[in-house]
């Protein structure tokens, strides 16, 4: 049902970088690209993103698998926007006007979104959620939020199994999903039962945690420290981005 953390268990340069630094870089670079409107700058970042993916030793197969939902969205945009965008007409298809601005806008969104997702994939998808939670805690994200994230993540698989069980039970009793009130009612009761079981399980889990001395502190077995390699990597990437942007703005004004 859910992708596992296969990318997290590889060995590469990116995997050696401190997780806090990786999260920081992912956030910084993503917003940097998202806020830019310069086509040349974004195209450069697009190439850079592929360099990072390569450094993280992610295979093309993994990239394609993870970009699939994005491609569906991009396809929709490419069909809709050139038709509905106002601007200079380029050509006409079946009496629909295709505008140049629409096509430019689509191209911009396509490159931006792929770039940001590749950044995310190479920096964040290469760590387990457990490590991510710990790194977030070190980056001063509120402890309660981190707790919520890790706990939710932990129980998604348990509740997922619970759902499979309920759905199997419905199927064995001859349930076939159709477009009618009976189907919707069945799904509503399925979802409802899922929440009821989740709530009852939460009670038991909470009691078990209290018995083991839970006091709100979340301990972790992942240990990592800020090493030289991470700091150097962080500085090099940021310097590169700054110089690159400066070059594009100041020098390469064609």
């Amino acid at each position: 049902m859910i992708e596992n953390e296969e990318l997290a268990f590889k060995d590469s340069l990116i995997h050696k970088i401190n997780p806090c630094i990786r999260i920081l870089l992912a956030v910084l670079l993503s917003f940097w690209v998202a806020l830019s409107t310069d086509f040349k700058f974004i195209s450069g970042c697009f190439v850079l993103a592929f360099v990072f993916v390569f450094l993280a030793s992610i295979t093309p197969n993994d990239i394609f698998k993870r970009l699939k939902p994005l491609f569906v969205f991009l396809l929709m945009i490419w069909i809709l926007l050139p038709l509905t965008f106002e601007g200079d007409m380029v050509f006409t298809v079946f009496s629909f006007d295709i505008s140049r601005q629409g096509i430019e806008y689509c191209a911009m969104i396509t490159i931006k979104s792929i770039t940001i997702i590749l950044f995310f994939m190479s920096f964040v998808a290469t760590m387990t959620i457990g490590v991510m939670g710990h790194a977030m805690q070190k980056l001063n994200v509120p402890q309660k939020f981190v707790f919520l994230l890790l706990m939710t993540y932990r129980y998604i698989f348990v509740i997922g199994e619970e759902y499979q069980k309920l759905f199997r039970a419905a199927k064995i009793r001859g349930f076939v999903s159709k477009t009618n009130i009976h189907s919707y009612k069945t799904y509503a009761y399925l979802a409802g039962m899922l929440f009821v079981r989740a709530s009852m399980r939460a009670k038991r889990v909470h009691q078990a945690m209290i018995c083991r001395g839970f006091n709100g502190q979340f301990h972790t077995i992942d240990k990592f420290s800020l090493d030289k390699l991470s700091i150097i990597f962080f500085i090099i990437v940021l310097l590169f981005m700054t110089i690159y942007q400066w070059l594009i703005v100041k020098v390469l004004i064609f």
Partner: protein, 203 residues
């Protein structure tokens, strides 16, 4: 219902980010460590339930359920939805990191609205419960679609047609969410009323 990476303008992302942080802060303040396990496991249930696909004609849609999230969790819906969306980014690359704030606001604000407006009617007769929860489910999706449309429209005026298309495409979803939420809340009331808020009003 997500906005993808690379679409929104800086101002909209900033506004969404600030609102999402404020809402999450209020939500976290309302959660104490006695309730946090319950909220976390319910969030996992919402995550799983939102992967359920129901048929409409030859096609199918997945459930959103932010109406039920609102009714069950109140202000805690904000952090719960943020966590769910963040996990969706990590697992499936749905939505994204930069529009995360806006996407959270799109889902969570209607949830909280529904909590205040519709949950007082839960403890009336079953007919009223069903009707109120139907509207809670339908309205929360409708409100989310409106917020999503506004975020797109404020980014780029040329998105107007796309916005109208999105609203139109969500009409059947709105009705299905209403029906599912109606049945689901009635089910809670019959089977496990402790899960619903304001239990004292029952007595």
């Amino acid at each position: 219902m997500h906005i993808s990476e690379g679409v929104l303008s800086g101002q909209i992302m900033a506004a969404g980010g600030v609102l999402a942080i404020a809402g999450t802060a209020i939500g976290l303040k309302n959660i104490d460590y006695d309730k946090i396990v319950n909220i976390a496991i319910l969030s996992s249930a919402f995550f799983v339930a939102s992967l359920i696909h129901v048929n409409i004609g030859p096609s199918s849609v997945h459930l959103i359920l932010n109406g039920i999230v609102g009714i069950l969790l109140g202000w805690a819906a904000f952090p719960a939805i943020l966590v769910a969306l963040l996990l969706q980014v990590v697992f499936f690359q749905y939505g994204g990191l930069t529009p995360l704030g806006v996407n959270t606001v799109i889902m969570a604000v209607p949830a909280i609205f529904v909590y205040y407006v519709f949950s007082p009617f839960i403890w009336k007769s079953y007919k009223i419960t069903f009707t109120a929860s139907f509207f809670a489910g339908a309205f929360s999706v409708f409100f989310s679609a409106i917020l999503l449309g506004s975020a797109l429209y404020l980014t780029e005026k040329n998105f107007l047609e796309v916005t109208i298309l999105i609203l139109g495409a969500h009409l059947p979803v709105i009705i299905i969410e209403g029906i599912i939420t109606g049945f689901c809340v009635t089910f809670f009331k019959k089977v496990y009323p402790e899960i619903l808020p304001n239990l004292q009003k029952l007595e």
